[in-house]
């Protein structure tokens, strides 16, 4: 056979050959495998479903693999291969403890083997529930737990990378259970918004088997829009001190008016009457004293008491307004709803 002929044959075989299964989308393969299972073409279903669970199929997601394992367990159950069925059901539970068989879809025989698999597998799982949040201290954190057997569950909330727990809680459960955690830390305070890690340890009461799982989640708070505190404008203050020239001008005014009083008998009075000057002198003395007193008091303290009081009132008013804003914000924050979101890419 010549080299050319060999090349032609190889090319023809390659073109006529069926597509390699791994090249198809895992979701499509899974869907076709489920259809074959439902049509009881069980051997053909096994081929497609195992294609999805194959470690070499790197494009399959964990959800697709878990679904494929469920249907592989069910298929082997119908094929009478009990051990294989239980093995696939166990592998499924180890990856997703929340998995269950719907009685409307799966037969009694399949579910019995699934129950056996649950008894032989001890795992704990945790996931966040989608909800609109809750008020810490007045509800329960939207977390759901599951243990495949009756177990004592301990959970601790920590900052990632920090050993000291912020909150711990424990309970006993079998199957799915909700979190007894009310969202507050050990001191009864709210957790600050941010990222946290939940470490869960479950110990089976029957045989002391244990399992752990961790979940990273983000805590956020949904609250009414907060008011901004007011910035104090120093330009709104009145001058609290007088310029030094005020003291001099008041002294000058006092002396000028005293001079006026002294001058009145001379300027206004008639010289022929030689009127008394005693009244004018007394008046001038009082007036000059007023000017001097004002001068001395302003020199000693040039503050403006009325303005100082008014400024103190304005500052106090500003503090009061900000305190009221903070109080209103505190009320809004106290009524804020805690929202927990699992970190993207997190799994058990």
């Amino acid at each position: 056979m010549s080299l050319v002929r060999i090349a032609v044959v190889v090319t023809s075989v390659a073109l006529l050959a069926r597509p390699v299964p791994a090249q198809r989308a895992p979701a499509e393969v899974l869907s076709r495998g489920v259809i074959l299972y439902e049509e009881l073409q069980l051997e053909r279903a096994v081929v497609l479903l195992r294609e999805v669970t194959s470690p070499s199929n790197t494009s399959a997601t964990m959800t697709e693999r878990v679904q494929a394992m469920k249907y592989l367990g069910a298929t082997f159950s119908l094929l009478g291969q009990r051990d294989s069925a239980i093995a696939y059901f166990r592998r499924m539970l180890e990856r997703d403890p929340f998995m269950d068989l719907d009685p409307a879809v799966f037969t009694t025989q399949e579910r019995e083997l699934f129950t056996v698999a649950r008894r032989r597998t001890f795992v704990v799982g945790v996931k966040t529930l989608s909800d609109s949040g809750f008020v810490p201290g007045q509800g329960r954190v939207a977390l759901q737990f599951v243990t495949t057997q009756h177990a004592r569950v301990n959970a601790a909330v920590r900052r990632p990378g920090v050993t000291e727990p912020l909150a711990t809680f424990r309970w006993t459960a079998e199957g799915a259970s909700v979190s007894p955690w009310d969202g507050l830390d050990q001191n009864g305070a709210r957790l600050p918004a941010g990222r946290y890690q939940l470490d869960v340890t479950a110990t089976a009461t029957a045989d002391s088997a244990s399992d752990t799982v961790s979940l990273r989640f983000d805590v956020a708070y949904d609250h009414e829009l907060l008011e901004d505190t007011l910035v104090f404008d120093p330009r709104s203050l009145l001058p609290e001190r007088r310029p030094p020239s005020i003291a001099r001008s008041q002294l000058a005014a006092g002396l000028a008016l005293a001079s006026f009083a002294i001058a009145v008998p001379t300027v206004i009075g008639h010289g022929n009457l030689d009127g008394t000057r005693k009244h004018a002198v007394v008046m001038a003395g009082v007036t000059a004293s007023g000017g001097i007193a004002s001068f001395l008091m302003l020199r000693r303290g040039s503050g403006i008491p009325a303005n100082i009081l008014e400024n103190a009132r304005r500052r106090e008013e500003h503090v009061r307004q900000n305190r009221e804003i903070k109080e209103r914000n505190a009320v809004r924050l106290a009524a804020a709803r805690m929202v927990i979101t699992a970190t993207i890419g997190e799994s058990r």
Binding site: L257, I268, G275, V282, M283, A284, M297
Partner: protein
Amino acid sequence: MTMRAWAALVGALLCVPALRAQLPVTTGVSVSLAEHRVTAGAGLERSSGTMFGLWATTTVPWQSLEARASLRGGSLGANERSASDRDVGEVTLGASIPVSDWIGLDAGIVVRRYESALAAQRWVWGEVGIHGRRSMLEDALKLSAGLSIMPWVSVSGVSRPDLAVAAHSAVGYSAGRLTATIRYGLERFDFPARNGVRRLEELSSLELGVAWKIR
């Protein structure tokens, strides 16, 4: 007219309408040391004494006009043989209007009566003036001084003076509703010569007062 009647008149003229109109009202009492000098051809006649007074003021919203009514009365004792003792009573109605923080204009009518054993004389005049004022110590201390002219003067038994002027200076110190005042005033009246004799009169007074702001 008796002193009681004059007091009732002052009260009626100022306090009653102001109180009805819910205007600020200040009333006060005063004691004045007065010296009266007259020369009318018989040498200088000098008499002095004490006068007691009542007064009230109110400020109306229009142009911050301050209206004032006062009543003074007392006795002036003769200091020379040529003079004679006399009683004096006086009613004043006046108003001041500020034209700036420091300057104000005054106008008023004064009715005064001198009464001695020999005769009685009634004086009536209108006056206009200007005053300057200055507040100190956070408005606690108020200083003022002013000049007035009397363009229309009527004196019973005597012709009108050809010069009538007055000057005053005052200090008031307020503490709460209470105000203590001291006021110096000098009035000068020069009458035209008659039969070669020129009559000159001058009244100098130093008034101490206490006022209470009713409202």
